[in-house]
Amino acid sequence: MSMLAHDGTAMLGRQLQRIRNTPGLLILTQTMPITMLLFFGYVFGSALAMPGEEYRSFLVPGLLVATAANGIMTGMFQAAQDVHRGVTDRLRTLPINRAAVPLGQSVADVMVTAAGMVPFLLVGLAVGWRVEKSPLQAVGALGLLLLFRFATTWIGIFLGLLTRSEEAAGQLGGATFILPLLSNAYIPTEGLPGWLRTLAEWNPISAVTTALRDLFGNAPVPEGAAWPVAHPIAGSLMWCAVLLAVFAPLAVRRYAHGEG
């Protein structure tokens, strides 16, 4: 365990140094959700039945979770890039813990996500979003968000080790853009036809988004929703636990064995 902590910390340091060496990419990924908040908030907001400011308050938690779900994309791209460039194989010949490399990557990713939330939430405050409940609940909401990001990054790392190519990872990563569209991140699910509503509410993004809206006090838990959305905090924890239990061992196994 101390071996994992030592090697994992070294690999975490590597990821943070990489980001510091190439800040352009980070700035690009951070401006994306802000652009979407302004675009969706004012363009869509003016066409929806919900008043503009109310929609923007509704949208801020949704975009936070949709951005967290991008962990699939970043995790996949970074893991595939390391495989492609031979870095993964170099590390695999070292006498280090088999989980240290993916763990370092996922923890670094969570830290970057946490830092990236600050400018986004400042813009959110500027367009009318507020924490309506206690600060403790707000902290809980952010903790839940980071836990979700941690889980999605492991999905990405597994897929990246599987695809082994930066191009494939880029293409597949682009497809993850549709995941929040099939959830309540941007629109309420109450208006959807029955089967589509069920599908959207069993999307993990919906449970986490509802939990954040509830904990920030931006919108009430919807009536008559599927279980993970009706019990959003328990539902979010359940989804994170399931995703981690499935994808973290898969990723570590894949990393340890390497081949197809």
């Binding site: 590597r14 140094q17 460039r85 194989d89 170099r90 590390l91 695999r92 010949t93 070292l94 081949e259």
Partner: protein, 312 residues
């Protein structure tokens, strides 16, 4: 002591779907020596190295690396080896210094910063130490790769085509580093396309073809295996046939003609055939000679001949 060899493999096999990349690789490398692994593209060199460095698991066969079983004790193998090559690279997004510090930390070296500075200096990288490795030239990159492998002196170093595409200065630096390492007792497994490199560095050569070791021996043993190349250049195309007749009598080997240069050549393992004797015999036969030579084979000759034999 369970093994007197640094690397000992028996019947290693590896398949990738339909492709049978290794069909029973037997390899024995003595400690403190350089073993050159030669083979044409697709012969199985890379697969062999990937198996022996724990990156792939064999489908059949067994191997001991530094006395540890490859399959049962991969951790112990990893503690003894270092790998440098095209498919095992440092991180281009980090600077040279950051890379070496990272590897020093992962190897639990005391004073990782000092060790990194020392290696940067030794490999002439101090000036570019704080630039991302992706901006390095091919030679600098290769030197950084090797430096990362020498954070701790490995028992066995795997070098995969370490000087491909390098200028002579960088190449010599890497060759010197390999010689220093073996002088200190490190065993080196070297795959290379350059036969000159194997000739310069390797104590023993394993010629890999079709997933097996086809021949082993020192460079001079392998050269003796195929014999010397005799060549006669004549002034006039008319006497080429006569010259070939003499050559046939002396060597018993099939002559090969070069009609552009008016020359005929043959290969012989007969060590009693010396240049004075060759010239006397040709003169006695009335062949007007322009040039004659008996050239010991290069490792290129060995490689081309032996790989052709395996393919036939």
């Amino acid at each position: 002591m369970t093994s007197t060899y640094a690397v000992l493999s028996e019947g290693l096999e590896k398949r990738f779907g339909e492709v049978h990349a290794l069909r029973g690789l037997d390899l024995a490398v003595a400690p403190g020596t350089v073993c050159g692994i030669l083979g044409s593209n697709g012969a199985g060199k890379t697969t062999a190295v990937r198996l022996l460095t724990t990156l792939l698991r064999p489908d059949a066969g067994s191997a001991r690396v530094a006395g540890h079983d490859l399959v049962r004790e991969p951790e112990a193998v990893r503690r003894a080896i270092a790998v440098t090559g095209q498919y095992a690279s440092v991180d281009g997004d980090l600077t040279g210094r950051q890379n070496l510090r990272l590897f020093a930390r992962l190897h639990r070296v005391r004073g990782p910063a000092e060790r990194a500075a020392e290696l940067l200096d030794r490999f002439g990288l101090t000036e570019s130490a704080d630039r991302p490795a992706s901006t390095y030239s091919g030679g600098m990159r290769r030197r950084l790769d090797l430096a990362a492998s020498l954070i701790r002196r490995p028992e066995i170093l795997f070098l995969d085509e370490p000087t491909t595409g390098l200028d002579p200065a960088s190449r010599n630096l890497i060759w010197d580093a390999v010689r220093d390492l073996t002088a200190d007792g490190t065993t080196v497994l070297l795959t290379t396309q350059y036969l000159e490199e194997a000739d310069q560095l390797a104590h023993d050569i394993a010629l890999v073809a079709k997933g097996r070791v086809a021949h082993t021996g020192s460079p001079s043993q392998l050269k003796a295996l195929i014999g010397a190349h005799v060549e006669i250049v004549v002034a006039d195309a008319d006497v080429l046939a006569k010259a070939a007749g003499v050559l046939d009598q002396l060597t018993g080997a099939e002559p090969s003609f070069d009609h552009v240069r008016n020359s005929v050549g043959a290969v012989t393992r007969d060590t009693t055939l010396t240049l004075p004797r060759l010239v006397r015999e040709l003169d006695a036969a009335g062949v007007p000679l322009l040039d004659a030579s008996i050239r010991p084979p290069t490792l290129d000759d060995v490689f081309l001949r032996l790989t052709k034999e395996v393919a036939a």
